[in-house]
C-alpha cells in the first residue's frame, strides 16, 4: 500500500476519507429512515386499498369486478379480481409478516424475487361474495439503496471540492513545518544561525522555538570548537618554527631531509586548518583580478616543486575576486589533485552563461559519486587508510570559498576517470 508520503497528503486523505464515510453513512441512515417511513405507509396504504377494493366490489356483478378492482390500482400496486387465489394458503414469508397482519388472517401472501419487477410481492384477499382481490407490488425491492448517476456526480463533485479545499488548508497548516525542514536542511552547510519565525499551529510554534534554541547551541558549540582549534593551530606554529630552525642546524643527510619533510607536513596541516577557519572571515576586499595569472602561478609553483601541472586556458580572465582567498582555494584544489589524485594535473578556465568555470583535473582514480559529498566536508579523509596524509581540509577550504563568493564547487569525473573539481564563480560581484 503506497501511502501519501507527505503529512499534507495524509491529512488530506484522512479528511477526504472521513468526510466520504460520514457522507455515505448519513446517506444510508437517511435512506433507511425514508424507506422505513415510506415502507410503513405503503403497507398501511396497500392494506387499506386492498381491503377497500374487496369491500367495494362485494356487491358488484362478477363480470365488472375485475375492471373495478383494476381502476382502484395505485402506482406500484396493481389490483385485480379473480375467482381463484394465485397464491396457495399457508403462513406468509417472514419479510411480509407486517403486511399479513394488516391484511387480516384470511389474506394470502407470497414473495417471488425472480418475478418481474412490480410483481414480486403477490397477495390475495377474499371477497365476501366470492373470489379474491389479487394484488401485486414491488415494494421490497424498492427499499434497497440505489445510487443513480446524479447522486454519483454530486458525490464526486463534493469529494473534489473537499480534496481541493483540504489540499489548500493543509498546505497552509504545514507551511511552518516545511520552513522548519528547510532551515534544518540549511544547517551544516552554513553554520551561521538562521532563526525561523515562530508562528503557525502551537505544536509547530514550539518546534520552531526549540529548533532556534538548538541552532543557537550548535552555533555556540561549533564556534567554541573552532576557536579552540584555531588557538591550538596558532600556538603550534611557534614550536614548529623553532623545530624548523633547529633542524637547519643538523648535519646534512637523509635524517635531516626526513625531519624537514615531517615539519613541512605539520606546517601544511596547521596552515590549512587556519585557512579553513579564516575563509569567509577575513576582510579581504573583492576587486578585479586576473584569474588566469593565479592559475599560471599555481601551475608554475607545482612544476618548480617537481610535479606535473599545466594551465591550459586564455591568457587573461579578469573578474571580481578576493585574490588571496581565491589563490588559497585554488592552491588547495591543486594540492588535493597532486596528493590524492595523480599528475599530470590540468588547470583550465572558461565562460559558461555568466559564470566563470575553473576546472582542476587530475589523472588519478577519482572519487566515487557516493563519496563526493563527503569529500567536500571538512576533516574528512577518504583515503586515510592509504596513508596519504593531509588534513582533510583542502576541498573544504575551496568549497567554503566558493560559497562565500556566491559560487559552487562540484566534483565530477574526467573522461579518463580522474577527479574533476569544478569551481563556478559569478562573473559579477555577488
Amino acid at each position: 500500500m503506497s501511502w501519501p508520503r507527505s503529512l499534507a497528503g495524509r491529512i488530506t486523505l484522512l479528511l477526504i476519507g472521513g468526510l466520504t464515510l460520514l457522507h455515505l453513512g448519513s446517506l444510508v441512515v437517511h435512506e433507511r429512515a425514508m424507506h422505513g417511513a415510506e415502507g410503513g405507509a405503503r403497507i398501511e396504504r396497500l392494506a387499506a386499498r386492498v381491503l377497500a377494493a374487496a369491500a367495494a366490489i362485494t356487491d358488484m356483478p362478477e363480470e365488472r369486478r375485475d375492471s373495478a378492482a383494476h381502476t382502484l390500482s395505485l402506482p406500484g400496486i396493481e389490483l385485480h379480481w379473480d375467482r381463484v387465489a394465485p397464491v396457495p394458503a399457508g403462513p406468509p414469508p417472514a419479510e411480509l409478516a407486517a403486511a399479513a397482519a394488516q391484511l387480516g388472517s384470511m389474506a394470502r401472501l407470497a414473495w417471488d424475487p425472480k418475478a418481474e419487477l412490480g410483481h414480486r410481492v403477490v397477495g390475495a384477499v377474499p371477497v365476501a361474495t366470492g373470489g379474491w382481490v389479487v394484488f401485486s407490488a414491488a415494494w421490497l425491492e424498492q427499499a434497497h439503496v440505489t445510487l443513480d448517476g446524479g447522486g454519483l456526480a454530486s458525490m464526486a463533485a463534493m469529494a473534489l471540492g473537499i480534496a481541493l479545499a483540504s489540499v489548500l488548508i493543509v498546505r497552509w497548516i504545514t507551511r511552518p513545518l516545511r520552513r522548519l525542514a528547510d532551515a534544518a536542511d540549511a544547517i551544516g552547510r552554513d553554520l551561521r544561525a538562521h532563526p525561523i519565525p515562530t508562528d503557525g499551529p502551537s505544536e509547530v510554534r514550539h518546534a520552531a522555538a526549540a529548533f532556534n534554541a538548538m541552532q543557537e547551541r550548535i552555533g555556540r558549540l561549533v564556534e567554541d570548537r573552532t576557536e579552540a582549534l584555531a588557538a591550538v593551530s596558532h600556538d603550534l606554529r611557534t614550536p614548529l618554527a623553532r623545530l624548523r630552525l633547529r633542524a637547519g642546524f643538523l648535519p646534512d643527510g637523509e635524517e635531516r631531509t626526513r625531519i624537514e619533510a615531517d615539519i613541512a607536513e605539520m606546517e601544511a596541516m596547521v596552515s590549512r586548518t587556519l585557512d579553513y577557519i579564516r575563509e569567509g572571515r577575513d576582510a579581504e576586499p573583492t576587486r578585479p583580478a586576473d584569474l588566469a595569472a593565479i592559475l599560471q602561478t599555481l601551475a608554475s609553483d607545482a612544476t618548480d616543486a617537481g610535479a606535473e601541472a599545466v594551465y591550459d586556458g586564455p591568457p587573461r580572465v579578469v573578474l571580481p575576486l578576493r585574490r588571496l582567498a581565491a589563490k588559497r582555494a585554488l592552491s588547495n584544489l591543486v594540492e588535493n589533485a597532486l596528493t590524492h589524485g595523480a599528475p599530470p594535473v590540468r588547470l583550465s578556465v572558461h565562460d559558461e552563461g555568466g559564470r566563470v568555470i575553473v576546472e582542476v583535473a587530475d589523472s588519478g582514480a577519482g572519487i566515487a559519486p557516493a563519496d563526493r559529498a563527503k569529500a567536500l566536508a571538512p576533516f574528512s579523509q577518504l583515503d586515510a587508510s592509504r596513508g596519504k596524509g593531509g588534513s582533510g581540509l583542502g576541498l573544504a577550504i575551496a568549497a567554503r570559498f566558493a560559497e562565500a563568493s556566491g559560487g559552487t564547487l562540484t566534483l565530477d569525473a574526467t573522461p579518463s576517470g580522474g577527479l574533476l573539481a569544478r569551481l563556478a564563480l559569478p562573473r559579477r560581484a555577488p
Partner: protein, 249 residues
C-alpha cells in the same frame, strides 16, 4: 655553513638587531644569522629594542622585528621606528595573517618573512635587503609604487595591477625578477645576475634554463596578448633588458 664563511670574507660584518619575545626562537634565529656571518644583537621587546639602538654596539644595519610582541606590538614599534629612521626592517609575521603583512608593509617594513620559515629563506631575504638598502639605494618608503607602461607594482602590498586595474598574481620568483628589472630599467641583466635573484625562491635545480623559464612566465603575465607591447626583450648572448619607461609616481 660554508656559505656564511664566504660572505664574511667578502663584506664587512653587517649588524642585525633581532626583536623576538620567544627566548628559544630568539636564540635559534640569532645562531642562524651568526652562522651565516652576521653580527647579531637580540631584544625581547620594544624597551630592549630602543636600548639596543642607542647601545655602544652601534646602530644596526637591519632590524628583524616580530609582529607578535608582548606589550607594544611589532607594528607599533615599526611605526615609531619609521618616524625617526629609514633603517631596513624585515617583519616576522605568522603565516597567513594577511592583515599583519599588508599593514607591516604599508607602515614601511621593507620585507616580511612568514613563520615558520625555512632557515635559508630568512638568510636570503636578509642579504637581499642589505644589498638593496645599501647606502646609495635609500628608497623613500612612502613612494613604493612603481609604474611602467600603465602597470603599477605596489611593493608595499607586493601587488601588480594591470593597466585596466586588475590585480595580477605573481609567483615569488616572478615578483623578484620584475622588481630587479624595474630597479634597473634599460640595463641588460645577465642570466647570472637574474639567476642570483631567482635562486632565492626556486629551490629545485637552479640553472640558466630556470631563468629563461621564469622570464617567459613573467612575460606571459605582463604581455598576455599577442599584440601586447613587449616589455622585456631578450638580448642574444647577454641576457634580458626591460625596455619600458619606469617611473615612481
Amino acid at each position: 655553513m660554508s656559505d656564511g664563511a664566504e660572505r664574511r670574507l667578502l663584506d664587512p660584518e653587517s649588524h642585525i638587531l633581532l626583536v623576538e619575545d620567544d627566548g628559544e626562537m630568539r636564540n635559534l634565529v640569532a645562531r642562524l644569522l651568526r652562522e651565516a656571518g652576521f653580527r647579531v644583537s637580540a631584544a625581547r621587546d620594544g624597551r630592549e629594542m630602543w636600548e639596543a639602538m642607542e647601545s655602544p654596539a652601534g646602530k644596526p644595519d637591519l632590524v628583524l622585528l616580530d609582529v607578535m610582541l608582548p606589550g607594544v606590538s611589532g607594528l607599533d614599534l615599526l611605526r615609531r621606528l619609521r618616524e625617526r629612521s629609514r633603517m631596513p626592517v624585515i617583519m616576522l609575521t605568522a603565516r597567513g595573517e594577511e592583515m599583519d603583512r599588508v599593514l607591516g608593509l604599508e607602515l614601511g617594513a621593507d620585507d616580511y618573512v612568514a613563520k615558520p620559515f625555512a632557515p635559508r629563506e630568512l638568510v636570503a631575504r636578509v642579504r637581499a635587503l642589505l644589498r638593496r638598502a645599501g647606502p646609495e639605494a635609500a628608497v623613500d618608503p612612502l613612494s613604493r609604487r612603481i609604474a611602467f607602461a600603465g602597470w603599477i607594482l605596489d611593493t608595499a602590498r607586493r601587488e601588480l595591477a594591470s593597466p585596466d586595474g586588475a590585480s595580477v598574481d605573481l609567483s615569488g620568483a616572478e615578483y623578484d625578477l620584475l622588481l630587479a628589472f624595474l630597479e634597473h630599467p634599460g640595463r641588460v641583466l645577465s642570466r647570472e645576475q637574474l639567476l642570483e635573484v631567482a635562486k632565492r625562491r626556486v629551490s629545485v635545480d637552479p640553472s640558466d634554463r630556470t631563468v629563461d623559464v621564469q622570464i617567459s612566465r613573467l612575460r606571459r603575465k605582463i604581455e598576455p596578448e599577442e599584440d601586447s607591447p613587449p616589455l622585456i626583450k631578450t638580448v642574444r648572448g647577454a641576457g634580458y633588458v626591460f625596455v619600458a619607461a619606469v617611473s615612481r609616481p
